[in-house]
């Protein structure tokens, strides 16, 4: 599953020197900036950022003086005097940290905030990859002091979640769209909020909020939708206040005044179970209105 796969064990970007390479370097002491141009590479610990241009902004000298000086092991480890507090890298930006990579058009490293924000273009949004897993969005914020990722308008394909379907069945990708995604590795949780849309085959589920929970190996175990859920699959529609999707059984359980609408049938109950593969429906303590004539000619599928 994408969230644990993308959020690897990382450490904060520590103070100290950051190695760079480029074709040219320009210093502007009066604006406290250093510019790097042409095949820029920045390396600090396990973080590597490359691009075509980079701009390093030094902190105000007064602030730099206030910062406590750290003891360093070698003279080279402390360049003294001024500290870079912000890097902006432009042009085919590529980020690597451990097995995670990310690409975008612009990357901004905010050292005090310990964040790296990647943005792209309308045609090429920023992307984070880990193995076969891919996550894109309008804006991707990688936290450098934790394992969390914050994505604005994420577009996610949950490939690993369908691995349990087995080799005999073709994998059905689960695509998720939302306005916001926060990956919280410590809690093995991916929280999608604001206009969440999940597409799996012909099923479309909408909800204001969804938490995706993962197991120790990074596999999806559960989706929890809250705040009102609307499920559509073919001619069938189901609603409820909450829905829980179990990855093993691939069943969606609607609760909280759940309702099922199917070709004129309207059923309510305490709980409605929807099996997304077989399209079987189970309603507990059902009551409602059935129109058998609307189902003539159906071959046993409810």
């Amino acid at each position: 599953m994408i969230a644990p796969a993308l959020v690897l064990a990382v450490a904060a970007l520590p103070p100290g020197p950051l190695d760079f390479k480029a074709r040219e370097m320009r210093i502007e002491p009066h604006s406290r900036r250093v510019f790097l141009d042409g095949d820029v590479q920045l390396v600090r610990g396990d973080l590597r950022v490359s691009g075509q241009h980079a701009e390093a902004e030094y902190a105000e000298q007064a602030a730099a003086k206030k910062a406590p000086r750290r003891k360093t092991r070698t003279p080279e480890a402390d360049l003294g005097g001024q500290n870079v507090e912000r890097f902006t890298v432009d042009g085919n930006v590529h980020v690597q940290r451990g097995s995670r990579t990310a690409d975008g058009e612009r990357g901004v490293v905010d050292v005090p905030a310990q964040t790296l924000v990647l943005t792209g273009t309308a045609l090429a949004p920023p992307v984070v990859r880990d193995g076969t897993e891919t996550l894109s969005g309008d804006r991707i914020l990688l936290r450098l002091d934790s394992e969390d990722v914050d994505v604005v308008r994420p577009r996610v394909v949950l490939r690993r979640s369908v691995a349990e379907e087995g080799p005999a069945k073709p994998a059905i990708p689960v695509k998720v769209e939302a306005d916001r995604l926060v990956l919280m590795q410590a809690r093995k949780l991916a929280r999608f909020t604001e206009d969440v849309v999940i597409r799996r085959g012909d099923a479309v589920v909408r909800s204001p909020r969804m938490d995706a929970r993962y197991g120790a190996d990074g596999e999806l175990t559960r989706l929890e939708l809250r705040g009102g859920v609307d499920v559509r699959q073919g001619d069938r529609r189901a609603t409820g206040q909450t829905a829980d999707y179990d990855a093993k059984s691939r069943t969606l359980v609607l609760q909280g005044d759940p309702k099922l609408y199917d070709q004129g049938d309207v059923l309510t109950g305490e709980r409605i179970d929807l099996a997304l593969d077989s399209k079987e429906v189970r309603v507990e303590r059902a009551k409602g209105r059935l129109r058998p004539e609307a189902h003539k000619g159906e071959g046993g599928t409810p």
Binding site: P29, A64, E76
Partner: protein, 139 residues
């Protein structure tokens, strides 16, 4: 021997040399083991660096056209803490240039490059020909 250069009643540079030949007719200058201090004009882009100290084993040039070469080991130190070393550097008008290896470091940076291009007013200090180095990261 010691020398000083004045501009508008103000000392803009002063220095010493072990030996200095100067031909007044063509303005040609040849100096050995020279060291000079340049005082940047206030409010120029060079001003943040503070007074600049230059040292070279050999200096030759034509003073009227501001053209010359410093060679056999050149060192530049700024009061701010910047320092650069290279084998030789050429001055042509307002442009300082070298295609030899440059080692420079200053507050928050250290860089090695295969060349340097700078304007004497400090409006541009550019390391060229491939650069590698370190930038100090704060917290």
């Amino acid at each position: 021997m010691a020398f000083a250069r004045l501009s508008e009643g103000r000392v803009v540079a002063r220095g010493i040399a072990e030996r200095l030949d100067y031909r007044r007719s063509g303005g040609r200058l040849l100096a050995f083991e020279g060291a000079a201090t340049i005082y940047p004009q206030p409010n120029t882009k060079l001003a943040p660096l503070g007074p600049l100290h230059l040292m070279a084993s050999r200096l030759e040039g034509e003073v009227p056209v501001r053209r010359g070469t410093a060679s056999s080991g050149v060192r530049m130190d700024a009061t701010r803490g910047d320092t650069a070393r290279t084998e030789q550097v050429h001055l042509d008008g307002e442009i300082l240039r070298t295609d030899t290896r440059v080692f420079a470091r200053g507050p928050g940076y250290a860089v090695e490059s295969n060349g340097l291009l700078a304007r004497t007013d400090g409006s541009a200090v550019q390391f060229t020909g491939g650069v590698a180095g370190q930038l100090q990261v704060g917290q």
